[in-house]
């Protein structure tokens, strides 16, 4: 079971993890406890492994700080579905192996606090009504890398970049 945490358009990296709570400021062991600290202080306390984050357009704009998505990884979120992603943040998600799905429709369908079943490998969300939502597959050029888990794992295995 996964809870849906729904957010608005333009969630920036300062929303996800404010700069003053970076690992080198507060400690690499606790920084993730400040995820969405300004925005939704209950998030880091209540989020459960496998929960889904749902956003609008331009999710992750702003800073290149990889520790923002890393905080979400530390909290073991199941994935992020948004209408669009900012590019540096999208790369960071790929590098950390956090599933990121672009969909214009699904974010509008899901509701905050909703409990769904999420099959990460099949890319399927099942709502309590029985309605099945199919998540779009990642772009082709990334599939090879994602099979390895992340770009980092791909590079460790093959000592080259996807497509090189």
């Amino acid at each position: 079971m996964a809870r849906v945490w729904k957010f608005s358009d333009s969630i920036n990296t300062d929303d996800i993890l404010p700069g003053k709570y970076a690992p080198f400021m507060v400690g690499a062991d606790v920084f993730h406890k400040y995820a969405f600290h300004h925005f939704r202080p209950e998030f880091a306390l209540e989020v459960q492994p496998g929960d889904l984050l749902v956003g609008g357009k331009n999710w992750g704009l702003g800073s290149s700080r990889e520790y923002a998505p890393k905080a979400l990884k530390r909290l073991e979120i199941g994935g992020i579905i948004a209408k669009s992603f900012a590019r540096i943040h999208y790369r960071n998600l790929l590098n950390l192996g956090i599933p990121a799905f672009d969909s214009l429709e699904i974010p509008d369908l899901l509701e905050d606090g909703e409990i769904v079943t999420y099959d990460r490998d099949a890319g399927i969300i099942t709502r309590s009504s029985g309605e099945v939502l199919r998540l779009p597959p990642p772009p082709e050029f990334l599939r090879e890398a994602l099979k390895a888990g992340s770009i980092l794992e791909y590079y460790k295995q093959f000592q080259k970049f996807p497509g090189e």
Binding site: F24, G62, I151
Partner: protein
Amino acid sequence: MAEKILSRRGSKTVYAGDLAVVEVDNVMIVDSIAESVIEILETELKAVPKYPERVSIVIDHVAPASSVNVAKSHQVSRRFAAETGVRLFDVGRGICHQVLIEERLAFPGAIVLGSDSHSTTYGAVAAFGTGMGATDIALAAASGKTWLRVPESVKVTLEGELPDGVSAKDIALEMIRVLTADGATYMSVEIHAGDKFSRGERMTLANLCVEAGAKAGMVVPGGEILTMYDVPDWVYPDPDAIYARAITIDLSHLTPRMSVPSYVDNVAEVSSLRGIRVDQVFIGTCTNGRLEDLQIAAAILKGRKVAAHTRLLVIPASSEVLEAAMQDGTLLTIIQAGGTLSTPGCGPCMGRHQGVLAPGEVCVSTSNRNFIGRMGDKDAKIYLASPAVAAATAIMGEIALPSDVPYA
């Protein structure tokens, strides 16, 4: 320009939409990210930088250290630099982007990756500069290369002459207003400005391209860039280059602008915001902390005093800027007006030290982001403006135009 530089530095000619693996001329790492990059290199990749001379660590985001945790992370960077021979620019040298351009580690045709989103700044000198996170940066340091999707380009043509009191910052904010915060996502913004604008003004323009989501922000070389650098012919865009979008900004009708809380593309005319009481004014950062920015502020502050209820913080972008501003009297003017100084670096831009905001406070800043909580408490408000508007605001104690300031 992006296609041409990425083609030159990869193994084949590439076009927008292609994936390219390219050689990297410099990998820039800031202090707030360095410990993660070093950890990925040492524990995940079990690698050292392939070309140490192409890797730079800059201690700028919290410099000097504000706590034991930060001091320990700086210590890791210093240890790593000593062991591997990468360049280290330590406390006080300045903000990463300013330093790499002053040191000529970013130059026309170069590919520079930075662990900071404002790495688009390198486009001011016709380098392909782009920001990435810790893992990408570690991979680039280990391999000497990176992978990219070749971006489409958005052409921004700047026409006409800028009126007095209007600056590159106002142009950049207008550009972001038109493009919006995701209008150039995955794209390269290519600014055509002829021979206008100094290197510093071009840095302001390129720096802010990331606030429209851009992967890179390139200014076509011209003016003083041509006397400062050898610009290879292959850097220039082809006359028949294809653009995803083209916009023109008429400079002759431009007025001073501000980004209003809490998004950079929420842009308004300063004249519509007059009278908002301001607690802190911050002049500095990679966007507007250069000598010319401080000189513009000093010209307005000369012989006047900062309002009693307002704090004016000034942070030169680098040690070179600090030295030049000391020598020409700019800093004396600022101090006599009631401003104060901190160590060259990022200062309070991301709310970590040297001027963090309290709940309910209002700050006018020459920086580049006004997100909720960016400079301190989540209930503080940040307005982004040019150095001229910031200086006028400091004197008046409320948002003001330079023309609002009474004669000294």
